[in-house]
Amino acid sequence: MQHLSIFPILIPLLCGALMLLPPFSKTLQRQRILSVIGTFALLISSAFLLHQVMMKGVHLYALGDWQPPFGIALVADPVSTLLVTLASFLGFAVMLYALNDHDKGGAYFHPLFMFQLMGINGAFLTGDIFNLFVFFEVLLIASYALLVHGGGKPRTQSALHYVILNLVGSSLFLFGLGIIYGTLGTLNMADLAVKVGSLQGENATLAKTGAALLLVVFGLKAAMLPMHFWLPRTYASATAPVAALFAIMTKVGIYSIFRVYVVIFGDHAGELANIATPWLWPLALLTITIGTIGVIASPGLKTLTANLVIVSSGSLLVCAAIHSAAATSAALYYLVHSTIASSALFLLADVIARQRGQAEDRFVRSRPFMQPKMIGFAFAICALAMIGMPPLSGFIGKIMILQSAHTTAESAWVWPLILVSSLAALVAFSRGGTTMFWRHNGNSNNDVNTAKPLEIIAIGLLLVALPLMVVFGGDITDYTQNAANYLHDFNASAYDLLPGVTS
């Protein structure tokens, strides 16, 4: 299976293309079948890739048979593969959910979904910084299109902001890439990492400006303060499956920050070593702060979840700022956890909103649920996970972050902030949960939508992952530890990816 590492990109790409062609383009039913098969195949191949990487180590795939640094190379390493698997898992679960007629609110849901997955997986796998830009654009344009799925004023409004801001971001990305290429003369990330170490004087100064711009770009994707504004409305207004899939979008920005500022501008970058750190610290902490305030202020479940996504982004940025293997390991664990949990919560919010009639997902008195036990149970799991309370995965991630932050001088800020953000989430969830589940008037209306089996399966699939992440926490943290060590090991993450170049 020498081509395995490109499967996560090609499967959704081909599925997406096929859906535009007869016979699949003719009926939604056929597209659904292809979607399920496609996402499942994606999941299987990602999992298999993960297994291969665990067994045999990093897999370098030189596209077009052009060896790095000249051609574009895909790098299936413990970090990227983990994220690809996560994205594929999310894609599969969310797709199951979407099948319950959520794909009917407009044309091309299925191909767009596939392309979105392709973009995400590509961004994770690529080892080339310009190719990263291209995949960013793939996932962005797909997300723009998916965002307006279902129509309606709020969606259009938030999409406009989202799109324009990201277009500004893309411009900045290209400025940054121009500077990077203009000073280093290469695009392969490993090659950049090797070359940046020898930059000196004015070239180094110029390269710094490029690195700074890239941080802004990734920060925008990751909803780093002051570029987080777009997120709450955008996520809250998106259709449920779209919002659920978007849960991983901020993580692409986070991932890029780790990839770029650990490997390229990391400890070995000479004059450019760790240049992001002084910016990341205050911005990350402020991101948590503002996310926390948002959590408290959230009037409804979707906004709450969106703000929690900001908090988790902030926490992950803190890990990036700490800049140690332990922190990276914490980030990887926390990232997987928070993605799954927020995704599940977005889906659940939709189920909740549908059953509560006019109240939707807002924390106000409403008619009772039709499936209170099941929904309540799922809600409790999501809430506990998001707050970071035992027995669900959130607490492990949070503890890992706290522990890794302890070695830094900034821990006096990190600890209280992260703990207070947990408390805020606790307050918000207990307020929202008690209101939604227990403050009722009228009777449940039997005409409204109950959660359908596929929806339940989808949410269940995501939710099952959370306790499993605790039960198998030892193995998973072992894995993230290895992945983090790999990322921080300059020989492994740079020189080994450049056949013909040795340290």
Binding site: I141, K153, I164, S170, S171
Partner: protein
């Protein structure tokens, strides 16, 4: 030459940024387009400027750096796709929201501040 080029890129960027910060979707789109011109020129310049050196083998003694050109090409296409999308989205926003302000609602104009001693002000001519 490089100076002129850089100045032009800077000016285009400034123009693009200013328009991007306006409140109406059309201006913003025009601003983004200007910005993308600037970006493309900038990215192109990262391979340094060369005259009479098109990267077509056998056509000249030296070749300009083909890589940024390929990158700019990709960037142009992607930029086009994005511009197209945002243009239509702006139309859609106008259709859905009833106006073309990027925030979906026209901000209420602030009442003019009357200043003392401003004799030319219309409000002063009431007597």
């Amino acid at each position: 030459m490089e100076g002129i080029y850089a100045f032009s890129v800077g000016l285009l960027t400034a123009c693009g940024v200013f328009l991007t910060l306006r409140g109406r979707s059309f201006s913003v789109v025009v601003g983004l387009t200007l910005l993308s011109y600037a970006v493309n020129l900038f990215l192109f310049a990262s391979g340094r400027l060369k005259l009479n050196a098109a990267a077509v083998l056998g056509r000249s003694e030296q070749y300009s750096d083909p890589l940024p050109q390929a990158l700019v090409l990709t960037a142009i296409v992607i930029g086009f796709a994005m511009t197209a999308f945002v243009v239509i989205l702006a139309m859609r926003a106008r259709a859905d929201l009833g106006n073309d302000h990027v925030d979906g609602q026209v901000p209420k104009p602030k009442p003019p501040i009357l200043q003392k001693g401003n004799t030319t002000h219309k409000a002063g001519g009431g007597q």
